[in-house]
Symmetry: C2
Subunit: 213 residues, 2 copies
């Protein structure tokens, strides 16, 4: 609400505010209906969640559940092992008929910092991902933290772009991770950047069950 609108409604009686609101909403609805009428295509989307804020994997995880709720089959490849907590895994495993989870990225951690092992892990995860993407039994494929592999050049961006460009028409693919590459953003249909405005670590609060894992 702009300051101008604020002032305008402040001077109104309740009845005037009601009428003003009804008129405003009617206009909004008309504008929205007009836009929606032009949206007729239905196809699988390439979705990217990037940015430094929280919620990239969590929103993807929410989409996976929504897809399960619709009765779809979903494939999940975790490019970084251990990124998901027991909460996520325990609940996804309650839907074994609909969800296939491949936890790859073995050793892709700061604890080992073995680049050759990371390269091999990224390659293995990507081969699994490719097989899932072309398998039309999956309506949605989540490539969790693929962006980190691309950032460290563990996989050639050209190969990834090529595969995603040629994905089956109806399959939704979600890619998460900070530092999403321009080449990926370029070919994506839906890109959301999660920006951190405030983080509890700053106040000395530790990672907690249900929030971070």
């Amino acid at each position: 609400m702009t300051d101008k609108t604020q002032k305008k409604t402040d001077l109104m009686s309740e009845a005037e505010r009601d009428a003003y609101h009804a008129e405003k909403m009617k206009k909004k609805k008309a504008a929205r209906d007009k836009i929606l009428a032009t949206k007729t295509e239905e196809r699988g989307l390439l979705i990217v969640h990037t940015g430094k804020g929280k919620g990239k994997s969590t929103a993807a995880f929410g989409m996976v559940f929504r897809a399960i709720g619709h009765g779809f089959n979903v494939g999940v490849v975790q490019f970084v092992k251990g990124k998901w907590g027991t909460g996520e895994r325990d609940i996804l495993e309650k839907f074994p008929d609909q969800v296939t989870i491949k936890a790859m990225g073995e050793g892709f951690t700061w604890d080992v910092a073995d680049r050759q092992r990371d390269l091999a892990a990224a390659r293995a995860a990507w081969e699994t991902a490719k097989a899932m993407i072309v398998d039309e039994r999956y309506k949605m494929v989540l490539l969790d933290e693929l962006n980190i592999c691309l950032r460290y050049d563990y996989l050639p961006i050209e190969e990834v772009v090529e595969t995603l460009r040629n994905k089956p028409h109806d399959t939704h693919v979600i890619v998460t991770g900070r530092n999403g590459k321009d080449e990926l953003i370029e070919i994506a249909d839906l890109v959301t950047e999660m920006t951190e405005i405030k983080h509890p670590f700053r106040a000395g609060v530790k990672a907690q069950a249900g929030i971070e894992f």
Copy 2:
């Protein structure tokens, strides 16, 4: 990766790159461990998902599932009815022992645009939310689209801030919706802004099951 780093590693042999990477990751890990050691507090957080991009409710929905996976009870109040699709509801209803969903905001839509009805709906939803927040059986309470009620001044921000400030110590409360008010951001522990970089509507693609609902 900065351009400088890129150039640096480009000139290296594979073995040199491996060593460089190992050293860099070791430093990162040390820095991270040092930070984590100072994070000792555990408490319920006030979390806000705002911004114009997608993923605000979906990330909250993902957190609800993660909490369910941990065995917690979760309360959900939908301040705008019909915002959630059948996918979400169908799957949440598979966990009746752990999730309580209150779909409020009856009539809070552009189709009716009846301000008095919206005011009454917002008040009823808020009373339900308050009861859930103080009920310590709930480890997490999601107030979906509360921000829209605050934006239209359907609820006094002072009352909402007062309640959230005094929530039980261990309860996580998540508030979603664009245009999150400054007063709310101010008292929140974790605030993420979802920014729209690219949206499929622009390319004429319509809302689809599993993505929008």
